[in-house]
Symmetry: none
Subunit: 192 residues, 4 copies
């Protein structure tokens, strides 16, 4: 029991270290040895928890992706109205992207480069279903434009990644009012 706990702690340290280092230096400048050092662990120990460096980054990706979707839908229930539901989900996502910077930044790198297995990438996409269902409801009711989910996602969710990046780079400080403006823009872009 104690051992298991300890193991979980080490694994978490490894995950955190990976995120931190990939965020700051990029995957190309994140050797296993540095991850081990930051997690206070021997390089060899990493291979007790993960099969390879590729496996490590895949697993970290999936873990973060799951944390993201869990957070996104935590306060949403399917009995909400389309408008209400969209606002709730969108704001949760916005909150995650802009407050959980580290995780969001890590996802941005993984989603825009080939550092993740194709398999892991597909696995990571699966969890968005509630949002897709919501959109379908909205489209059936004539509230949301009858366009592809990809377009809806592109114009409501993906801009948040861009804003997160600009904030991360110190170019743009995002305050409460900007979130409201962003929400309005997102909604305007897909509402009928």
């Amino acid at each position: 029991m104690a051992k298991l706990q300890k193991s979980i702690e080490k694994k978490n340290n490894l995950v955190q270290a990976t995120i931190e280092l990939v965020n700051n230096n990029g995957f190309h400048a994140t050797p296993i040895s540095k991850i081990a050092k930051m997690a206070n662990v021997s390089p060899a120990t990493i291979y007790l928890y993960f099969e390879s460096k590729q496996d490590l980054v895949n697993k970290v990706y999936l873990e973060v992706k799951e944390a993201f979707t869990a957070y996104a839908f935590a306060t949403y229930t399917e009995d909400m109205s389309v408008v209400e539901g969209f606002e709730i989900i969108w704001k949760r996502i916005a909150n995650f992207k802009l407050k959980e910077c580290k995780q969001a930044l890590f996802l941005a790198q993984c989603d825009n480069t080939p550092i993740i297995d194709e398999a892991s990438r597909e696995e990571g996409i699966k969890h968005l279903q509630p949002l897709l269902d919501l959109w379908e409801r909205g489209q059936d009711k004539g509230i949301i434009k009858p366009v592809s989910n990809y377009l809806l996602y592109a114009y409501t969710i993906s801009p948040l990644a861009f804003l997160m990046l600009t904030q991360q780079r110190g170019q743009f400080k995002i305050e409460e009012k900007h979130i409201e403006q962003a929400y309005q823009a997102a909604w305007d872009s897909i509402k009928l």
Copy 2:
């Protein structure tokens, strides 16, 4: 004379090879040796054209970024109306992102990871001024929402990168009608 010409050709080959390989394998899996091989050149030759691998990728980034902005504003003049001008610029950008996939994909990687020097990144941002001016005109006339440029960019331009990626991954085939829908979404999100 013949020498100089040959040099330009080799440099172009190197740039193309870099884009191709970074796109397909990621920066972390793109060694100098592979770039050299694809460009039909000795690894040592790369160092006649670029100071280092970092310099190479910086220069490629700037070259592509310049090609992008040149393309974006090629058909725009400042005497156009705000609505007309925005549509023209937006569609040029959309065209570039969705037709010049290789270059767009490369930019997406560079813009979302720390593989580029901070200096080069800042240099690359400079060329968007005409679009920012256009937006200011639109805001002065009460046509465009009075929000930060970053928000305007996030909701009109950045979604195109996302769409390009989905297309590149074979998830979503973008046709003419989607571009029209996307344009509508972009405009709806920022128009007053």
Copy 3:
């Protein structure tokens, strides 16, 4: 425990190999790969013991220099008379230079070329103090010429490096009588 011992052995092998190869081929023709081969070690292993090739050669230099001064003063005590003390130190140094050829040869290369860090060079000079003190005593008593330490060193110790080199190159075989002659010359050059 066994690990630590092994480490010391490997480090010594590396030090010996470096001396051997630099002596025979020169620093410019002593790649890390050859050092590794002679020490029966992978090139990568060298970097577990030393930070860089420069660090390796600096450390070897300091180690040899310390061995040299330790040897030089091993039988000297400050209560000896000036004449007795000088003879004892001088002969120890002569013995070292002419018997521990490898180490002396290595020092000659390091002391006459810029292969050593300035910092390491300064560090290496520090240990001669007892000799300088002895000379000062001799000068106070009117036994030794009142000239700079550099001159005293130049005329008593530095000739031994030259003799070592000639012997090393097979030009001149140094026997006991030559050492006596050399000692006489050294003493004659500085005595009042």
Copy 4:
């Protein structure tokens, strides 16, 4: 004729550049490309004047060695007395070592490391004959100790190389009085 002149100038530039760079950086950090740059010449041009890098450094060594011996014996004639002759030769050598620092420094590196061909080294030694003859004369007359030439050289000439090095490194500034002291020490060490 004009061409030949030009060639000689280029060759001299190459010799000077080699001395300068080997002095400052060491042979191991003196690539052909740097020599070429400092001599305002293409790397390829070097191979019109020398067969290889090794040939270049050999030739430079011999040239400097010849300049040294020519300078050493320029004012000496065999009809001088032993004492007078020795003083004249010694002071010329001292002057060369301490005033023509660059050349002396270069010789020190070549004489203490294996950067020169064995053949070139032997060639370089030949020119000292007049000094050896002088010593023999002195020994025959009972003025100079009956010891090996190597010892005589070690105690009269080789210390000058050490003093030159200390001066070069800024540890010891050699003035006129030190030269007199050094001469006295040299003479004291070998005179009967």
